[in-house]
Subunit: 391 residues, 2 copies
């Protein structure tokens, strides 16, 4: 017998003071590079060799980044430019700006974000180990290829399979479809989000139901349309309508044909972050015969709930909606502007007694919040509603 | 009945004149970016917005790159810098240099090479489709996690499984262990090399035996040693001795435990490119009870063959060596300085009647040669020696 995590339990895991990481190269530094360097005291040092440059800056990406909100000037010393600056634990996109040119830091790894390869600093949080690889049974992340007629081409999809998928050869699994945010791609949830590590660890503690996680690219631009770089989730040809159509018509049949899935609505969830949250809401509530669980992380939930029209009218009849929707999960970091709509939606739904899970946690519009969100969400998926969850 | 490809057959597939690709953004440009732009006439245009920069250059990486051998100056026009320059088909690493700072082109994808994230321009070759995704059954690339005692940590390994691996549930498969070059990592063979696409296409034409391909990181630096960035294949703690030990003691048991392999020497091959070629030769010939086939792409073969000592003395007795080594494959591009040693080794082995396949093809020390090398190598693997090969 396993109880679902009580709401907000994760908050207890977050240290009240900023914890210092061990001194040394950041985990995101490329092999053999000494910088970016974490100093063990809540600061990071960047060092860049650019002897002919006139100015060198670190530019935090996004609001309230763990690196701050403003460009950080490096100072020349010999042929290197240096700066030591405060940083919080987590995963922070940043650019390296050389004489006004916004590029990447070659001493650090890149991740696909901001519609391009983008540097991101990983700062361990000594208080949190749920996304750290451990000696537990490991699932796989599989890079698969399929054809989407809706998007008009061969596409790449990442699929997490849990430990045991290969050996329990007749077992079938529920599926979470999980989407990245604006300007990111299908790599996001495994590379930035470490969803495979999070699930491996949860499963080792028997705190989640073994499931597949399917991660596609949220930009199903057809070949005759210019592809969107960022945003474009507003219903245009590359937006969520086409995305939902692609998921329902092409992706789900491919996944259910290839993997040993439990191929019914009760065992299918869709979630996403930011732009992907909007896509999850639209595709999920637009196809309740296909999905029974919907999760919306940090944006896309809307703010003004209308019982007749919101969520495709799923809660016009509350009792029926509550019966039909197995899990409706949404949340946001408290420093994210999405928190406002999430809170007002939470209040409106609570007033109407519409079942949902509202998750808020300190943090900005950053991957550390999305890792924590998945850590709260995953144990709640594919459980009996209202009952103590069992595996 | 399928015949192995005759030596050099690939040469016939290479157009004698440079073919022009379709005009448009390079396939390596990030989603929605118009540059780098292929002009359809054997040239590429780079455009970079860097209004405050004093100089902007494209720096081809490596000798005889398809972008040339020298830095290419961009010229300012308004707030953008532009250049149009000749390019050959293939995959060419390059840097974007802003005021002397060697960075990455954010409008193009990065790949792990040169000990960092590095830009690389993909230029299609209209004469070659063997590495282009097609509507054929697709295998998977699986990202797996295992612990290496030798390297002292959890490590990431990429494994290609062929189409049918999931459905032919009792079939067992031979395994090719395939290594990247200096400064690269376990991503190289699938991302730069497209080994999964090459195998999918070969298998669809029934020109290769279905096999697994296992791709590890060639730098098994233990935690108490500073990691090597490039090179360091010379036998030090991060070098090939430790690599071979890791492969034999940790990686092979993991793979044979997890996957349905044919777990004997006859069905196990090791190959690699450049530094990885040296590792393949050393690990393969050093462990002939474990590997029966060895492939060495573009370096690492040596140049002065000594029958008593070369290749761990495997050919001291030619008859026995020829019987024991199922396939000894090596080759190089003709513009690669590794060609000299490869040719002299080929001559020395031929004189001694030591069985081997020598593969040479126009090209430099670049991934296009390694894609072509795999396309020649894979159909020869796990076949009966000297007989017409059957699947």
């Amino acid at each position: 017998m396993i109880r679902a995590l009580p709401l907000g339990s994760l908050l207890l895991l977050v240290p009240l003071t900023l914890s210092a990481a061990e001194p040394g190269p950041a985990p995101s530094a490329v092999r053999g590079s000494q910088f970016p360097r974490l100093n063990g005291d809540g600061t990071v040092t960047f060092r860049v060799r650019a002897p002919k440059a006139q100015s060198v800056q670190i530019l935090p990406k996004g609001d309230h980044s763990g690196l701050g909100d403003k460009p950080i000037d490096l100072k020349p010393e010999g042929d290197a430019w240096n700066v030591t600056t405060p940083v919080t634990p987590g995963f922070h996109y940043y650019s390296l700006v050389i004489d006004g040119f916004e590029g990447v830091d070659p001493s650090n790894q890149t991740f696909f974000g901001w519609a391009r390869e983008c540097s991101a600093l990983e700062v361990p949080d000594p208080g949190l180990t749920f996304y750290t690889p451990r000696d537990v049974p490991h699932g796989e992340v599989r890079v698969c290829t399929y054809r989407s007629k809706v998007a008009g081409g061969l596409r790449r999809v990442f699929v997490y399979t849990p430990p045991g998928y290969e050996t329990e050869r007749d077992r079938r699994y529920p599926v979470l479809y999980l989407q990245h945010g604006s300007g990111e791609n299908e790599r996001g949830w495994s590379e930035q989000g470490r969803c495979n590590v999070i699930l491996d660890n949860l499963l080792a503690e028997k705190r989640a139901v073994p499931m597949l996680i399917v991660m596609e690219n949220g930009y199903p631009t057809p070949p005759d349309q210019p592809p969107a770089q960022r945003g474009a989730a507003g219903g245009g040809p590359g937006g969520p309508d086409r995305f939902g159509e692609m998921v329902v018509k092409d992706l789900i049949p491919f996944i259910d044909g290839k993997f040993r899935t439990l191929a019914d609505r009760e065992n299918r969830a869709i979630g996403g972050l930011s732009m992907g949250g909007g896509q999850a809401v639209r595709t999920g509530f637009g196809n309740l015969d296909t999905f029974a669980s919907i999760a919306c992380l940090s944006g896309g939930i809307g703010g003004s709930f209308n019982q007749e029209t919101s969520y495709n009218g799923a809660f016009k009849n509350v009792e029926e909606g509550n019966r039909r929707v197995r899990l409706f999960w949404f949340g946001s970091g408290t420093e994210d502007r999405a928190i406002t709509g999430a809170r007002s939606t939470h209040e409106a739904l609570a007033e109407k007694k519409i079942d949902h899970v509202f998750f808020e946690i300190p943090g900005a519009h950053e991957w550390q919040v999305w890792r924590k969100s998945l850590y709260d969400l995953a144990p709640r998926l594919f459980r009996d509603k209202g009952a103590a969850a069992t595996q």
